[in-house]
Symmetry: C2
Subunit: 295 residues, 2 copies
Amino acid sequence: MKDQIQRRRFIKQSLAAGGSMFFMANLTSLKAEKKIKNILANETLQTIHNLRTIHGNFSKKNLTHDQIRDIVDATVQAANSSNIQTYSIIVVKDRQKMQNVCGYQGGCMLVFCADHNRIHRSAKYLGYSYHSDNIINFVTATMNTMLAAQTAVIAAKSMGIDSLLTNGLHRGDMDRVWKILNLPEKNCFPLIALILGYPTEEPVYNKGRLGGVGVVHHETYHSLTEEDLDEITAAYDDHSTHLALNPDWDKQGFSHYQDWLYRDWLDEASNPINQETQMFQLLKRSGYVDLQNES
Amino acid sequence: MKDQIQRRRFIKQSLAAGGSMFFMANLTSLKAEKKIKNILANETLQTIHNLRTIHGNFSKKNLTHDQIRDIVDATVQAANSSNIQTYSIIVVKDRQKMQNVCGYQGGCMLVFCADHNRIHRSAKYLGYSYHSDNIINFVTATMNTMLAAQTAVIAAKSMGIDSLLTNGLHRGDMDRVWKILNLPEKNCFPLIALILGYPTEEPVYNKGRLGGVGVVHHETYHSLTEEDLDEITAAYDDHSTHLALNPDWDKQGFSHYQDWLYRDWLDEASNPINQETQMFQLLKRSGYVDLQNES
């Protein structure tokens, strides 16, 4: 009991010392207290635990030149294979362009592309041949690119700047992204748009995450049992976890959150079956698919 | 001049206040001073600018249970599409297993896999059909996975723990990774191994990165000119940038670092041409390639 009171005091102090809405939302659960312990461990863990996605409500405030420079300088520090940085980052300040590329706009957009063009051009310039025409190069470049993208997200958050990572650029006619950004058709593929900025209103809580069975495995992969599936279902159904995209699933008559998720959200229409996807066609055009010349 | 002296004093103070070898290596360049300015901006940017890759020399010291828990708790905070976390993280403490999976070992290994099995199982358990049999799901899951992986890297570094992100698990017979970790053949693909731990010796400097032309573009993609290619070649050749994997390229008779890079490092042997790659075959087996049943 005394221990509990001390913990409460601890939490209150952390709130006084600059706590965010994140603390408020989860204050009741033990899990939250564990998180708060982490958060207090160091500023970087605090930054990571305060990460949140802002959707349609970025303010009109733009990022400054210095902020963008500091974020980009941090971004390229991410590890990458052979230190050849097989990515390109397109910095976009034009809000209409942001909207056209990914359907959102904010204080700045960084478009992250897997890209071997610099390597191709440099190699040729020095008289060497180089190719990147297979899936290995695409997967490796995608990994390099996304390590950089998350570094940008965390760097921005540490500077008080919120973010939205969106694959909106993969919706609709994807080729528009090449056209709007003047991307090379070959050896380049746009992966994700990062909108940076400030929200017009503070979210009431941050989304939760699954962090146990089904996500984290020990020594070998653990196949889910029925008990595990019940546990996962219950975790999504527990409103205090904030795992749900749609917090009103029960008011809308669903027995479980995941009923809404599988029936209304992850619908098959947006996930073509028995036909080649636009993404695969464009990946073939980029040269990042094995033997694409024969297909 | 007075300004310069003040800057030097500033740098000396920052060194006294806990600077690492990173500062020492770059102390002379203006770029480094800009970096130091960033580093002082907040702890998270400092953490990011101090990131470094440790290769063969992790010490025998293992991560504690609490350290691993704190890193994993931070890791899952990364943004992900539809909050369905289409990844699995295998925590491996067995050093021989680390070695067999990726060719390295350290204080702990996290293997990050794109994975839709939890979603498939949960959907089926609740009576829904769900499929992930195309490249869109693979690319989206890979992006989610890598956002989490870099969050782990930065969280660990903030706790004084260094890292190695390696695609060593894609070398040799890749199917061994499925066997060793008991991964599902379908709807799961191992992407990267993250070794965490402590180095036996401090690196003398941190690797540099290109952060300008060819990497960062403004508003639209900029195709490299000959002037740009000269600038990039010179940047790699400048020993003070620490961009080179092999700092002795000139002693070994190469005119430019990139001569070594394209001739001796990025050799074609490790990058098959005109034949289907093992990775593509295994991606097809996983179901993550469009219309894989027809090929």
